[in-house]
Symmetry: C2
DNA sequence: CTGAGATTGCCGTTGAATGGCAATCGTGTG
DNA sequence: CACACGATTGCCATTCAACGGCAATCTCAG
């Protein structure tokens, strides 16, 4: 921007400002915002005013500002995600009513899994997923399922990056991760125990779009003591097929499946 | 912006661009975007590039662009709406499983009702609500409930504006609308038949926050032939109380209610 | 009343943003 | 294969929206 000391674009500053809000900072004073974003106060006040005019931010009773409804509206109205979310929701409810643990729906975005829906269960395992929250790919069963069924290039990209260790069970060795991905691809689901928090396990299965590409991962988070994998995988698989079909998926014609008819 | 022929801010142009996407235009070529927003092509290309860099837009396989996941993420992560939505969802499911018709959750935003969640029923009444969609306040039972329970100033604001007629049943007379609002406030719910589309009725009840202020309207959309109001109001009331309580509402100590204990 | 912090008005400066033009790229068409 | 048409990008002179420092004002707790 003109006379800017930092050389950032207005758009970048906009993102900086919006990013300054999070779960624990849902509303901020403009002065706080200036500090958190490291922008000159006067500039922050001016920019915030523009955003208030457009409804992208909203003023609260206390004079603080928060994310505006209009921003959410613009983002949600035509986001391809909302179709996926809406298609998945009823099936996720089914899963949750049977499994009685956290059910989540995640997509691949950049180097993370982005959770676009979750149903929480009060009395259940520790759950660090948050709506519109991100977790590292190799730290979640959802992430590994998504990568396992994505084009090879995606897998290579994951393996070429350093893998942060979160617990004793986090897989940080590329070769080992590669083996896991192959197994997931072959079995059709992922079960990972304590790879990001020691207490809980994730079980995840892929959701496919019309072109047979993975579009999301459906998963449940359960306490490690009560994984009960076989039963839960079946529930997840059933739901995932339902979601896939609702999205226009026609069913994968894989060799091993549907032999029954001829016999 | 510098050398701008229109005198708009970058922020305003950003909103213009994002607004160009809707349900039927989920992805656009940049040239289309320039036409739809009425911005000079070269300017549009540059701005779109900035947005792509920030992830606010995303490029598709075909070269078109669409709303980026990052925009949704930023909007949802700390939006006060997500708390409301998440609290309401389980209760909405309850309602929908009993009523078997469209269930919606709406809030007041500007001159409209903004729908922040909806559960659709395939074989049900016509439903023109859309997720993250808007409808005029006086055209929906949700809107009337929200206004009826809002501070008087909100009501006056609605009554001072011209009221568009959508069907023969739309209330466009301020005096009549005022009577309706009073009745809704007194009864505690709204039933409006065919005020925006002739075929369907809306039944709506208020959801309250910790400070006893309305924060949302819970509603069902049913075919006009099968309103079955009394039963449905009870279902909605029950659910709305559940949501309110989940939000920290302590229960309104109104004269008429909870007499039983003493008697 | 006083001080600390938040917010706004003022204003000279300037480079980010702008948009026209022409070249290039991509795709379909005769 | 030549040609047309539209999308996209490189170039670049122009300029005003954006910038940010400073001081005044407002707020509020102590």
């Amino acid at each position: 921007m003109a006379n800017s000391s930092s050389g950032e674009s207005v758009i970048h500053r906009f993102v900086k400002i919006v990013s300054a809000f999070d779960d624990t900072h849902r509303s901020l004073t403009v002065a706080d915002l200036a500090r958190r974003t490291d922008l000159p106060p006067r500039t922050t006040y001016r920019l915030v005013n523009d955003l208030l005019l457009e409804g992208l931010l909203q003023r609260e009773r206390g004079g603080q500002v928060r994310i505006g409804n209009r921003l959410w509206e613009l983002a949600s109205r035509s986001s391809p995600m909302s179709g996926l979310r809406e298609a998945a929701l009823p099936f996720m409810e089914d899963v949750q009513s049977v499994v009685q643990h956290h059910t989540t729906l995640g997509i691949l975005d950049g180097n993370d899994v982005l959770y676009i829906e979750r149903l929480v269960s009060d009395s259940s395992a520790v759950n660090i997923t948050r709506l519109a929250g991100r977790l590292p790919i190799h730290g979640t069963s959802s992430g590994l399922v998504l990568v396992a069924f994505s084009p090879a290039s995606v897998q290579e990209q994951l393996l070429s990056r350093p893998l942060t260790r979160y617990t004793d069970f986090t897989i940080t060795d590329p070769a080992e991760l590669r083996r896991h991905l192959a197994e997931i691809r072959q079995r059709g689901f992922a079960v990972m125990a304590g790879i990001i928090v020691p207490e809980s396990s994730g079980i995840a299965v892929p959701v496919f779009g019309p072109d047979n590409a993975v579009v999301a991962a459906l998963s449940v988070v359960v306490p490690r003591q009560e994984e009960n994998v076989p039963a839960r995988v079946q529930v997840l698989m059933t739901a995932a097929r339902g979601i896939s079909r609702a999205l226009g998926w026609k069913g994968k014609l894989q060799g091993a499946v549907r032999r029954s008819q001829g016999g």
